[in-house]
Subunit: 186 residues, 2 copies
DNA sequence: GACGGCATGTAAGTCGTTACATGATTTG
DNA sequence: CAAATCATGTAACGACTTACATGCCGTC
């Protein structure tokens, strides 16, 4: 049974209890999406495939009138999840337009580069704000999922601070060149 | 003229001077690949397309006997690059298997989780080591490309440290539960 | 003259998103 | 009853990687 990119997500989330494809998508969008996205186009086909392979199974229709297909993890599914967790692969892929722009920004004037840095900084500040909202709840539960949240907070804080630092450096350079300093105090 | 994902890379690197597709690929693999990868299958077709659109142009055959196709940036290409740099889009996509594993690692024993954390930590320590090698050279040139390198160093250091911290937390928990502590001093 | 690296290029296949279709059900 | 949202599903498209094909050049 090979794993697609959503397979571990499905097995891992079903391990917390029975869920539907819709549930899984919603949870992903509130948690792993920052480092591992998933779309319906991946989730629904994979649910069927995994059910066919016996790693998950459909549960009896639930109480509520609404039609939903709830799945639960089978022992075989738990084994497969553990096996995947213990496999050595730790691949990373990043595609960050902001940093590509910074890297190529020699074609910009200082003012323009400052604009870019400011935009990048607010992007990361916004993520920090978003993650801070969740923090209290995640802290209670603790464990490694909370560790992952701390990582997200740390990385985004660091990035925002670096942007601020680079902005200051650009302004300092400009000052040395005799351009009037219009920075607000502080 | 729309931009594919390699278009800014090509224009940006040709701005530093004439280059071949092969050159660009090599530079990417030593610089942007950490946050923006590119393959031959993208580069060569795009070079032709961009030449057809007049954003870059082929130069006369070079001295060396070896057949290479050198391109240079045209004024139209520089304009297009600047326009792209000034556009508001700052998309990010991340796919990090290590952190997905951490996030789902409740299915592991503490020992197994410690193994995972250790592997993740050494992955990031290795990146730090790799980037440190380049640092001196990048520092001389300075500017925003150096800023991007500092970002890479910072993020990977922070991640490695967080792993170490989570490892300590797991060990402390275990200690509280009366499991004998086998940590080396320090 | 064989091998390794330079250099260009493409075909096939995988992966993933987007957008849409469908219909049921709760809520105002 | 209209609108929002729950819920499942798929088709089409685009993006990217991989692997291979080709041939040349310099070196041992």
């Amino acid at each position: 049974m090979d794993f697609t990119s959503v397979t571990p997500v499905i097995l891992g989330m079903l391990r917390w209890g029975p869920r539907s494809g819709y549930d899984i998508k919603r949870i992903v969008d509130n948690s792993t999406r920052f480092f591992w996205a998933a779309s319906y186009g991946q989730i629904y086909p994979d649910l069927r495939r995994l059910a066919g392979a016996g790693l998950i199974e459909q549960m009896g229709k639930p109480k509520g009138g609404r039609r939903r297909t709830l799945y639960r993890l089978t022992p075989a599914g738990e084994d497969a999840l553990r096996e995947w967790l213990l496999s050595p692969s730790l691949s990373v892929e990043l595609r960050d337009e902001g940093f590509l722009k910074l890297f190529l920004s020699e074609a910009l004037t200082d003012e323009e580069a400052l604009g870019l840095l400011g935009a990048l900084r607010s992007r990361h500040e916004a993520v920090v704000a978003r993650l801070s909202e969740i923090e209290a709840r995640a802290k209670e539960r603790g464990g490694l999922p909370y560790g992952v949240l701390r990582w997200g907070l740390g990385v985004n804080r660091l990035t925002a601070e670096l942007c601020a630092e680079l902005e200051r450096e650009l302004l300092d350079e400009r000052e040395e060149e005799g351009v009037p300093d219009v920075r607000p105090a502080g």
